[in-house]
Structure formats: structure tokens, C-alpha cells
């Protein structure tokens, strides 16, 4: 209700925002605690996370990067991905019209907290087709074991 006092009529962007919030209300995600490191939709790079019994798989959708310049670090349970997406050399924009400029360029940094069973010694990263894939192994003690019945 209070939100309707904050949005101006006729503002298209606000209207979209209101719509999205409406959806969040409808699905019950607004107001629930979210991660303190959560970011708004559309941050660069987009991140997907999956888990297997033996590992945590992180995918960062970061196109057009030089893999040598991507920094991946794990410090006290926080995985950080940072780097810079270089734009074109200056001067290239002369004598041309720009119709769309939607892609992100510049420095980026994203961090996510790993679960306690993550083993910082078992981190592997690869870059393919513009996706940075980081696989963090779980500690052996955290992996499911079959207990034999004697």
C-alpha cells in the first residue's frame, strides 16, 4: 500500500518496478530475508549456483573477458569474482551513430558466501563461451557416506 505513495504516475520505469514488486508480492519473495550480498537483477555478471553432493558449482555469465584478467579468490568462506571488461579503444566511436548501448563495460566485482562445508583448497575455475565456471569442492567430512551395517 505504502509503495503507491512512492511511485509517480506516468513513470514507465517505476511502472515496471511496481509490476515486478507486485510479482514478488504475489510469489511471496519480497520481505523475506535475502543474502546481505544479494544484488538487484541485471548485475554483471549474472550468477547461477548449483550444488552436488561433492561440490558447489558457480557459473558467472561474463562474456567477452580475457580469462587471464579474471580474479577468483576465496577468503574466509567468501568467493569473490572480479575483473574488468574492457571497452573499445577510444576513437572508435567517431563518425558513427549509436542506436543501442546496452552492454556493460568497466570493472566488476561479485561476492558470494559459500556454505561451511566448502573446501577453499579445492577450487577450480575455467572460462568457456563467456561463462566462468568455478567448482568448489566440499570437505571430505561433509560428503555423504554409506554406513555399513555389520
Amino acid at each position: 500500500m505504502y509503495e503507491s505513495l512512492l511511485t509517480y504516475p506516468g513513470n514507465v520505469l517505476a511502472e515496471f518496478d511496481r509490476l515486478q514488486r507486485g510479482m514478488e508480492h504475489a510469489f511471496g519473495t519480497l520481505g523475506l530475508p535475502s543474502s546481505i550480498r544479494a544484488v538487484a537483477q541485471g548485475a554483471f555478471p549474472g550468477i547461477n549456483i548449483g550444488t552436488t553432493p561433492a561440490s558447489i558449482e558457480v557459473y558467472a555469465f561474463a562474456p567477452g573477458l580475457d580469462p587471464a584478467k579474471i580474479e577468483v579468490s576465496v577468503d574466509r568462506g567468501v568467493l569473490t569474482i572480479s575483473g574488468e571488461r574492457a571497452g573499445e579503444a577510444p576513437g572508435a566511436e567517431r563518425k558513427r551513430s549509436v542506436y543501442a548501448s546496452e552492454r556493460y563495460f568497466g570493472p566488476f566485482r561479485r561476492a558470494l558466501s559459500l556454505s561451511e562445508d566448502a573446501d577453499p583448497a579445492k577450487v577450480q575455475a575455467s572460462y568457456r563461451d563467456g561463462v566462468l565456471h568455478i567448482s568448489v569442492g566440499k570437505r571430505d567430512s561433509a560428503q555423504p557416506r554409506r554406513i555399513e551395517i555389520k
Binding site: 558449482e57 555469465f61 551513430s97 563461451d129 563467456g130 561463462v131
Partner: protein, 122 residues
């Protein structure tokens, strides 16, 4: 996954609108599109009349038995279409895909390129 490839775009369901940059200079149009996760064999560029359709499927390696825990990229494909104008030479479109970035160059027809017009003394 691979048996989906012969189905037409409209039957494939919702897709992410990829971010693009579009420029025009004297000899044609240059477009860059961010398509992270799309390998070359999963990228389709199609001309339908004057419409250029770009569609790509995300095909990242996922280990066996992985369960999604969090997702910002929530759809498995990208799709975007552009209407081209008649002076663009669609037969000579050049496309390259590198590290999830599609670069497209659409040249203008020879006769549509700018010419300096000679002014004759009367």
C-alpha cells in the same frame, strides 16, 4: 537437449533478450550481442524477409546430479530479432562468436554507400 534443434523459434518458449550494442557508420551496421554460454553450434542466425533473428542456446557443462541453488540467468536460451532496412546487404552479413560475444557486420548495398557528388560548374 539436441533433439530440440529442429523446432521453430516460436515453439521453443520464453527466452532472454540479450543485451546489444548497435552502431552505424558510412558503410554499414555493426552489432555486438552478449550471449554468454552459447557455443557456435548452438547459435542460429536467420533472415526471414527483412527480419534478422538471433537465437542461441546456453550449453554449459553441468556435472551429473547438480541441483540448482540460486539462479539469475533463468532461461536456457537467448532470442532477439531486428528489422533491417532495404539498403542493407543481407547476403554479405559477417558474423563471429567469441567468448559469448556475437559480432555482426551488415554492410550496405554498394549503391547505398555515400558518394561524393560532383558539382559541375554551369
Amino acid at each position: 537437449m539436441s533433439d530440440e534443434r529442429n523446432i521453430t523459434a516460436s515453439e521453443r518458449g520464453p527466452a532472454i533478450l540479450p543485451r546489444v550494442d548497435v552502431y552505424e557508420d558510412a558503410s554499414g551496421i555493426t552489432m555486438f550481442a552478449d550471449l554468454p554460454g552459447v557455443p557456435r553450434e548452438r547459435l542460429t542466425l536467420r533472415m526471414e524477409g527483412e527480419t534478422l533473428q538471433i537465437e542461441g542456446e546456453i550449453a554449459t557443462d553441468v556435472p551429473e546430479g547438480v541441483q540448482a541453488a540460486y539462479a539469475e540467468v533463468r532461461l536456457p536460451r537467448y532470442r532477439r530479432a531486428f528489422t533491417l532496412s532495404r539498403e542493407l546487404d543481407t547476403a554479405r552479413v559477417e558474423a563471429t562468436l567469441k567468448d559469448g560475444v556475437l559480432s555482426l557486420r551488415i554492410p550496405k548495398m554498394e549503391h547505398a554507400q555515400p558518394r561524393r557528388i560532383q558539382v559541375n560548374a554551369g
